[in-house]
Amino acid sequence: MDLSAINPILLLASLMVAATPILLAAIGELVVERAGVLNLGVEGMMITGAVCGFIATITLGSSVLGFAGAALGGALLALVFGILTQVLLSNQVATGLALTLFGLGLAALLGQGYIGIKAPVIPKWPVPVLSDIPVIGPILFNHDPVVYLGILIVAAVWFFLSFTRAGLILRAVGENHDAAHALGYHVIRVRLLAIMFGGACAGLGGAYLSLVRVPQWTEGLTAGAGWIALAIVVFASWRPWRLLLGAYLFGGVTVLQLNLQAAGLAVPVAYLSMAPYLATILVLVMMRAGRAPGSLAQPFHASR
């Protein structure tokens, strides 16, 4: 085994890349849950976004349009969930699980003609000046634009929830939907918008896998990333910056185990592959989760 083959700067830089898909999906789900909705269909929305993004990139020949298509696909699938649970009052847990299964099947169907094609490379965008700083530069400021976008979205969500009136209303709807309704806020409208935002973010996360990380389309390429995103939302106590931390922890362990595999560590590969999931579960158990939004996963009907 040769641990010296592991370059810590490269490791940390690739940690940010590895964490981005989960980060994107999780920040979307965080907003959904803060609005009081539990959407367990993150995995399904991610993989739908992955395939939509891939198809859009290949057919339209633009990565930007690809990511836009991924966001649109994820949001549309989420809207199905939103209409079922918010308008038709179906059970959120069952509908979310169904959405995951449906999304996996739908993505496999849509992606049939695209297996084996390679996605165009997305160039890195080194931040001028900052990327020249030794050590920190290559770790933080030499990535593709989507990595920056992920962090920007986290910051924007934090700002939105903490400092804007719309964010306050969204939290109010998630905290006590009956009181919010009594004060005249449109609970279902707010929730549908949140659900679609969540779907769009999950779609972006999925597209990052199919366009940057892999980068090609294969069935089941999300491999449980959506579930990890759901877990990280709880681990982060529904707070954006802690969510960033959680995503980097998972991404870090993922990258580390890949590096250890490459370095030939004398531990069976199966155990190493387990490590990121085990680490996430362990942290979830050790961290005391914060208080969930008061109306989380409860159905809302104006007459009750």
């Binding site: 006590n176 005249g184 939004p293």
Partner: protein
């Protein structure tokens, strides 16, 4: 005659199966405290929701200061100068006071400015509030202050208050009234809903009485007796509970240094409670909500277990026993929260009867449910307590609050307990149903059972109890004979008004 501030004419609203309001017309003048009276289900809530823009009427008009008033949603009503304090507080526990206030305002200023204005308004009306406190940690009185300040910040022309005093101590009520009179003097009209007729007599200038959705009368509450108003509401003469003289029985329950940790974060710990209760006696326990009422009921019913000898029933230590074992011995309890605690909302009345009565009424045999017997028992509760429902197969949720309360209390009384513990037996229940429940408790005691009645309604406690004690911060005061206690003494026993002060700025 001047234009009234608010004129309602011919308001009608029907829901499938019920007409909530039919042809309701009356005026509210500026600078008037106008009482809206009626039993549960008389249509008061629908009416105020219509004024606040939450309900669209099927027919009829409203006019505010002479101009047509058709609020499409609460925002429009708020913009027009109508504010409302809800019966079930419309607050968000996890948010702070300033955020809660911002949510109830149309164009809220930045948080910092809200904090400053909250301080200003609370000074002006003697309603101290810290804008940065988390609402979940406030007492019921403080939570109501948040709602009131939220309304006052918008300079309302009309303030609607739905049952504002049900959770307050007498001192807090006095301070609230002082605030309301001050508002009246400033020209604000107040539409005031309450079951407490004596309060209305003390406070209001005019009253409109609703029965079954129609206006059945108006009166000047200052010149009408509480009994006359109650009879207007009910439409027949009111039954006043009759308290018979009872011989003093032997001791049935002894609490010795009963202490228990708070069961959850917002709970209250019980501290060193000593108490004896005799057969045939009704012990009334007063106290502001959140001073250990729920925990005391739980410790008596067996939901919280303690050391064996802290709770002694008929000379036997039972502090370690679970609820069903206590039921077997004859100790029954009816908790405060009807939906979800005393009754499972989506189960039928038969199933709900089974849940607490299976032990004493032998409704199960060898692990199987005896449905016939269970139905018969539920039916007998419904008949004996005049529970208005199509049948025992209906869900608990489908009953109105008063009817479900009659069922929940009746279910325990029909099991012939040796000791019955009830918490808030008539909370949110209309006058005639409340009188029936109180009479049933008195009858139970006359038959030789002991009753512990925990309530925030002091009039109720004075009406039925033989002895009175107060809970304050998880401690129980020494019980005193209820006869001869006056409001001041009771207020002192309750621990007085919680950090409230009377308004002190000249309006």
């Amino acid at each position: 005659m001047t234009t009234p501030l608010l004129r309602l004419s011919g308001l009608t609203k029907a829901y499938p199966g019920v007409v909530a309001n039919q042809d309701v017309s009356f005026d509210v003048q500026a600078g008037e405290i106008h009482a809206l009276l009626g039993e549960n289900g008389a249509g008061k809530s629908t009416l105020v929701k219509t004024i606040y823009g939450l309900v669209k009427p099927d027919a009829g008009q409203m006019a505010l200061q002479g101009a047509p008033f058709v609020p499409a949603e609460p925002r429009a009503a708020r913009a027009a100068g109508v504010a409302m304090v809800f019966q079930h507080f419309s607050l968000f526990d996890a948010m702070n006071v300033a955020e809660n206030i911002a949510l109830g305002m149309e164009n809220p200023p930045p948080q910092r400015e809200i904090a400053a204005r909250v301080r200003q308004v609370s000074d002006q009306y003697g309603l101290p509030l810290d804008p940065s406190r988390i609402v979940g940690e406030l007492s019921a009185g403080e939570r109501q202050r948040v709602e009131i300040v939220r309304c006052l910040l918008q300079d309302p022309k009309l303030l609607i208050m739905d049952e504002p005093t049900s959770v307050l101590t007498p001192q807090e009520v006095a301070i609230l009234f002082e605030t309301l009179r001050r508002l009246r003097a400033a020209g604000t009209a107040i539409l005031y809903i309450s079951h407490k007729l004596e309060e209305i007599r003390a406070l209001c200038d005019a009253a409109t009485v609703l029965r079954l959705g129609r206006v059945v009368g108006t009166c000047d509450p200052r010149a009408t007796s509480a009994r006359e108003m109650a009879e207007l509401m009910v439409g027949s003469s009111l039954h006043v509970p009759h308290k018979a003289a009872r011989p003093e029985g032997d001791v049935i329950l002894t609490l010795q240094g009963l202490s228990a940790k708070a069961p959850h974060r917002f709970g209250t710990a019980l501290r060193e409670i000593d108490l004896t209760v005799r057969r045939g006696e009704i012990l009334g326990i007063g106290g502001v909500a959140g001073n250990g009422q729920d925990e005391l009921v739980a410790a008596l019913s067996g939901e919280i277990r303690t050391a064996r000898d802290m709770v002694q029933f008929d000379g036997q230590g039972i502090g370690h026993l679970a609820p069903n074992a206590r039921r077997h011995l004859g100790l029954l309890a009816a908790p405060e929260e009807r939906m979800g605690h005393a009754a499972a909302p989506d189960m039928s009345l038969t199933e709900n009867a089974l849940l607490t009565a299976a032990v004493r009424q032998h409704l199960t045999a060898r692990g199987f449910v005896r449905w016939g017997k269970a139905r018969a028992f539920a039916g007998s509760v419904i008949a004996a307590f005049d529970v208005r429902t199509p049948g025992a197969g209906n869900t608990a949720r489908s009953l109105s609050g008063g009817n479900l309360q009659k069922f929940v209390i009746g279910r325990e009384i029909m099991q012939a307990p040796a000791l019955l513990v009830v918490n808030q037996p008539t909370w949110g229940v209309d006058a005639s149903a409340a009188a029936a429940i109180r009479q049933a408790l008195l009858d139970l005691a006359a038959k030789g059972a002991a009753v512990i009645c925990i309530s925030q309604d002091l009039d109720e406690l004075m009406e039925i109890s033989d002895r009175f004690a107060a809970l304050n911060g998880g401690r129980l005061s020494d019980p005193r004979p209820a006869q001869g206690l006056n409001v001041e003494q009771i207020g002192l026993m309750l621990g007085g008004a919680h950090d409230m002060e009377v308004a002190h700025v000249d309006a």
